[in-house]
Amino acid sequence: MAVQGIWSGTISFSLVAIPVRLVKAIEPGRISFRLLHSKDYSPLARRMFCPEEETMVPRDEIIRGYEIVPNQYVLMTDEELESVSPERSRTIEIVDFIDMKEVDPVYYDHPYYLVPSKGGEKAYRLLVEVMRRTNKAGLAKFVLAEREYLVAVTSRDGALALTTLHYSEEILADEDLSPKKGKTAAEEQNRMKKSIERMIENFDPGKYADKRRKKLTDLLATKAKEKAPVEAPVVEQEEGAGPADLVAALEESMRKVKPR
């Protein structure tokens, strides 16, 4: 299967640089719906509405503001936003090697794979193998879609996996969550430990399925078979009083501008 890369560049550390492509490791299985107009099944479009003037706002009148207190905004232009955005990365430069066990899973954000690009296969295989043996993860900073991420690169099933990590300031403090320290009875602990041990299994993700998704796709399939889908009307783009004759249209336009 040819996977489409969402980024391509090189992964490097010290003297090694390997051309790679970044590909998604997951495709969230959400089924999405279009919103239609019940009268004629036209797909609906989003428009920006100004409640003050009770009117639709055209694109060129829309700007960005950051709300500091209710109803007070700091304006931000595209240029200003651009000025703080990082440059697109060409390389994933590994700066440290760490033990992945030290990373609390709460830091895991999004999983990807790195696949070798043309000419990089041999060096890629070498890196995969060495990282598997040392059992370490490479830490790197990397810009994707205008954001700089901290990423961990690991060796997994003969390939390089890349996981974006959350920054520590994104992690909510958990001190308040745990109840005050106190003693628990050893007997109670043992009883609970035993019942856990009875329930131990190997993790088999195939055993668990998104039941709602399954039911929903079945329902959609049945409905599509039972009854022909409704059809949106053919949209005539905005136009005035119907199609004009070419000569009339050109003359009308030329009247506005006379050649010098």
């Binding site: 199609p243 004009a244 249209a249 050109l250 030329m254 501008v257 010098r260």
Partner: protein, 301 residues
Amino acid sequence: MSRTFVEMAGRRLSLSNLEKDLYASYGFTKAHVLEYYRRIAPLILPHLKDRALTFKRYPEGVEKDFFFEKRCPSHRPAWVKTAEIPQDDGEQMTVCLVNDLETLIWAENLASVELHVPLARASSPETPDSMVFDLDPGDQAGIPECARVALILRDLLSRTGLASYVKTSGKKGLHVYVPLNRKETTFEDTKTFSKAVAGIMQKHYPDRVTARMAKKERDAKIFINWSQNDASKTMVCVYSLRAREKPIVSFPLEWRELENPAELGDPERLQVTHSEALNRAEEKGDLFREVLVKEQKLPHL
């Protein structure tokens, strides 16, 4: 973006930005370009027919960037006729055939100010139906020098029994066409023949003619470009507008217009503008008609 819908021969066309100034320093909008092509259509269409169109598009006007487009845009209306042309890499490429007014107007709506076509039809891409000499004056040469070389070329060709026809390039040069219209002729034939003719011209008129591409050899000379006789090359179509400050047309001339030095005295005379092109076309009809129909056999050299 402004849009105007028109209906032509039962086909709907959406014309965009008709007010766009395509010749900004001349005040000639997209509507004017479309109007020119609409009126010249009876004359230009036979010369575009069944040939792979190369669009030369000037979306921001002739003073700004342009791009060539050989592939027929995938967003074309369903009624645009196309052909499959084999490319050098063996792949097929879908090209547009401008066989009717609607397709011509659609192509012009894409700001394809200049229309370029090959010397062969799409159905027989290896068979040129004419041979061309592209006369390109060096920096110190002008239309009068170019006209003299064209006349010598015409005489040389007629001594081998070949009639030839001339059009302005719409820039500084002239294009001399020799109709062939025989399915036996190949580009190899026309290339060999035209190269030999250019060589003879250079040998006999070394101070007026060069058959070499190098710009520095041109100066006050006329470069006879024979290498246009190739399946992969295109020529600006007769009656096409050119992208210059003014809307100048690549327009056919009568040989006597080049013979008459009084007329040549005014080089502007040979710069046929859009309005003059329409007047002349009405008066004279298609002076390039013979290029499409006259059958001629290249003599052995």
